[in-house]
Structures are given as structure tokens and as C-alpha cells.
């Protein structure tokens, strides 16, 4: 490319043209195909410089998410369940087997329970300007099922980070686990009516709260609102099928 072209184009991008020069340049762009081609390439470079920081940020954010979500399907959550909870599972399964033997005649009519559906994804709070230690303490408490501690810590956190919807959801789950069902419903209802990405997550847990209250009509109504292309839809369908008929 000629030096003359190059100088003109740089002057344009450095905003060094007078109005008259700029008009003359626009005219030249329409008449000179080679200049137009060089200009178009230079503009692509300039546009790329503008979006490149965001592109780098995105790449950094997703670098570790793949490892977290693309786990072996044969053990979808094995890595995330603490050993203590796995022992509870084994003990629970053994107890369930005994109960099943005793209750076979009535088993198939029993309504679904909260416990059957309450599987929580591990909490991983995003950085939002608070200290890493505080977030780690909350995550550890929740992920080891210390829901009393988790709820206290989450409420302290929410006192300064009230708009963190993920934290609000997990505070509701902790409340549910502590049998503070009405409190959970109060926390979840506005999120389930909102527009955030946690809207359907809130609907799902709201349904579980109603299930815990044995309020099957409300439970069904909330589940029916979960859209078909959503992550929670399969679970919602499963629970809907098991709810007692009105």
C-alpha cells in the first residue's frame, strides 16, 4: 500500500482531519477502490482492537468452566458429593430397602417427597468485590450441608451484596433444608417472577418448597410454568407425574 494511502488512513483514525479534509476523504473512498479496500481492512483492525479486551475476558472466564461441566456421564456428580453425604446415601439406600420391603403394598401410592427431588448443585459464588475468604467460607458451609452456618453467612453477605441473585437462591435452599419453608417461599417468589437467568431455578425450588408443605396444587402450578427448553424441565416433568391427582 502506498505511503500516501497509509498516512491518510491513519489521519482518519487519529481524528486529525478537518471537516473539509474528511469530506474530501469520504469522496475519495467512493472513487478509489484500492483506497477503499485498504481502509476497510484498517477498519476491521480498529474494530477488533475495540472488542479484543472483552474477547480475552470471555476466554478467561470460560477456560475452567468446561472442566467443571463436561464430566464423565457415567459419574455425573460423583466428584462433587462429599464423602459424608455419600455415606448418608448408602445408609439411606439401605434404610429405604428395608422400608420398601415393609411397605410394598402402599409404596406406589405414596406422594413424592422433598428429599426425593432435593439435589443441589454445589455453590460457587462469583467474585463481586468481597474478600475471597468470605466467599470460600460460604461455599464450604453450603457444600458440606452445614445449612445453618451457610444461611447466616449468606445473609451477612447479602446485606452488602443484595443484588447477587445466585446468593439469594442458595440462601433459600439453605432455608428449605432448615425447614424454614415460608421464609424460603418469601425469598424465592420475587426471583421466580423476575427476568434474571435464575428465574427458572427459583421456580423449581419454589415448587420444592410447596412440595415440602404438601401444597400439591401450588407445586403443580409453579412446575407447569417451567419452559420446555430449560435445564429444570426434565425434573419438573418427573415430579409433575408423581404428584397426587387433585
Amino acid at each position: 500500500m502506498s505511503d500516501d494511502y497509509s498516512k491518510k488512513i491513519e489521519k482518519y483514525f487519529n481524528n486529525e482531519f478537518s471537516e473539509a479534509e474528511r469530506e474530501a476523504f469520504d469522496q475519495e473512498l467512493m472513487e478509489d477502490a484500492e483506497l477503499a479496500k485498504s481502509f476497510s481492512q484498517r477498519k476491521q483492525m480498529e474494530d477488533f482492537l475495540a472488542v479484543r479486551p472483552g474477547r480475552e475476558k470471555l476466554k478467561a472466564e470460560i477456560a475452567d468452566l468446561g472442566d467443571e461441566f463436561f464430566v464423565d456421564a457415567s459419574e455425573p456428580t460423583a466428584k462433587r458429593i462429599p464423602i459424608r453425604r455419600r455415606l448418608y446415601w448408602i445408609a439411606g439406600a439401605a434404610a429405604a430397602a428395608i422400608i420398601l420391603v415393609l411397605l410394598v403394598p402402599t409404596w406406589f401410592n405414596a406422594p413424592p417427597s422433598y428429599q426425593q427431588f432435593a439435589e443441589h448443585r454445589p455453590l460457587s459464588l462469583q467474585e463481586r468485590g468481597t474478600s475471597g475468604e468470605e466467599l470460600t467460607a460460604i461455599e464450604t458451609a453450603f457444600n458440606t450441608a452445614e445449612y445453618g452456618t451457610a444461611l447466616d453467612l449468606l445473609d451477612q453477605y447479602l446485606a452488602t451484596q443484595a443484588d447477587d441473585t445466585q446468593a439469594q437462591i442458595y440462601a433459600s435452599i439453605a432455608a428449605l433444608e432448615l425447614d424454614q419453608v415460608q421464609d424460603a417461599i418469601t425469598r424465592l417468589t420475587p426471583i421466580s417472577n423476575g427476568q434474571s437467568v435464575y428465574q427458572t431455578t427459583a421456580q423449581w425450588y419454589l415448587a420444592l418448597a410447596y412440595l415440602k408443605q404438601e401444597n400439591y396444587a401450588q407445586c403443580r402450578s409453579v412446575l407447569s410454568d417451567i419452559p420446555a427448553d430449560n435445564y429444570w424441565y426434565a425434573k419438573a416433568e418427573q415430579l409433575l407425574k408423581k404428584l397426587p391427582q387433585e
Binding site: 491513519e10 480498529e46 482492537l49 479484543r52 468446561g66 441473585t165
Partner: protein, 187 residues
């Protein structure tokens, strides 16, 4: 038709919002994994295609006021399929063959967004060329161009990068741009 939540996902992706990105992974990782494995791929490949697809969408929509013509899921899964078929048929460069393949794997119910998928792939390819050539520039050039575009004042950049005068800074900038232009034409 897209709903407000679809646009929320797209805008979150554009901003690199971690909570939104997590939500996208949570919702689509199982679907992408299942689809790629069904079509002869491995989980590891599914993971890579997933990441590339997110960046490709960024390359298409960043810097502009882009409105989704369909649901986010239809767009994202469309890009995933397109990328996978492109990878599998790398030797068959013929665009027509790829488009036929794409049609074969597209659900009847999916919206007709082929043009958008092709445009997204082109934007991604172009961004990769720009990125690869930019990375071959010296550290000084990379920093200088980034700082100037980031709106820092000339005085500040002169100080940060230890230039003697504004004139020297802009002479260097022009040289960096010229070098980048040459690298780009070779890329």
C-alpha cells in the same frame, strides 16, 4: 421467537458475565455432549467445540446492537453443529456439501438461520486471523495499540511506555499498524 431471557443470555455472554456463562454451561453442556458423541466425537472434543462456539458468537455480536432472530438455544446449538460438521469435513471444502450436511442434521422445527450461522462462522474466522497476527506483534506494539484504543490520554501512554514525545509515540503507532497489516495479509 426469542424471549427476553434469550437476549439476557446473549448480553451476558457479550459482557463475559460469569453467572450467565455458568448458566449456559449448565443448560447446554449435556446437550452438546450428547450430540457430539452421537455424531462420532469425544467428550473432550465436545468441550472444545462448546468453548469455540461461545467465542464465535461473541465475534459475531460484540460491538454491535445485535438482536436474536431465534432463541439463544437454537442459535448456540446451530453453531455447535456447524462447527462440528466443518471439523469433520475439513477436507471437503465445498461449502455446498457442508450446507447439505447442516440441513441433514438440523431439526425440522429449528428456525431457518443458516445465513446467521455462516455469518457467525465468517466473523469468528476473521477474528482468529486478526488475533493470530496481533499476537505476532512485539509486546510494545500490542500494549501501545491497546492503550490508545482504550482511550488513555497521550500523556499517560507516553509515561507508561517511556516515550520521549507524543510525536515519537504516534510514529511508533503507525509503524505497529503497518507491521500488523503485513502480518494480517500473510495470515
Amino acid at each position: 421467537m426469542p424471549e427476553q431471557q434469550d437476549q439476557v443470555l446473549l448480553d451476558g455472554l457479550k459482557k463475559g458475565d460469569r453467572a450467565v456463562l455458568k448458566h449456559i454451561y449448565q443448560e447446554y453442556a449435556p446437550k452438546v455432549s450428547a450430540w457430539i458423541i452421537k455424531h462420532g466425537g469425544q467428550r473432550e472434543e465436545a468441550k472444545d467445540i462448546f468453548q469455540e462456539s461461545l467465542v464465535a458468537i461473541y465475534d459475531k455480536v460484540a460491538g454491535q446492537d445485535f438482536k436474536l432472530p431465534c432463541s439463544f438455544g437454537a442459535y448456540f446449538m446451530g453453531i455447535v453443529r456447524y462447527k462440528w460438521l466443518d471439523k469433520k469435513n475439513r477436507n471437503k471444502r465445498d461449502q455446498e456439501v457442508r450446507n447439505q450436511n447442516l440441513q441433514r442434521y438440523t431439526d425440522e422445527n429449528d428456525p431457518n438461520i443458516e445465513d446467521l450461522l455462516i455469518a457467525t462462522e465468517q466473523a469468528h474466522h476473521q477474528a482468529q486471523r486478526l488475533e493470530n497476527s496481533f499476537k505476532q506483534l512485539s509486546d510494545l506494539c500490542q500494549q501501545l495499540l491497546t492503550l490508545i484504543k482504550g482511550g488513555r490520554s497521550t500523556e499517560e501512554i507516553i509515561q507508561t511506555l517511556s516515550f520521549s514525545t507524543a510525536n515519537a509515540l504516534y510514529r511508533r503507532k503507525n509503524a505497529c499498524v503497518e507491521r500488523w497489516r503485513i502480518l494480517l495479509s500473510e495470515a
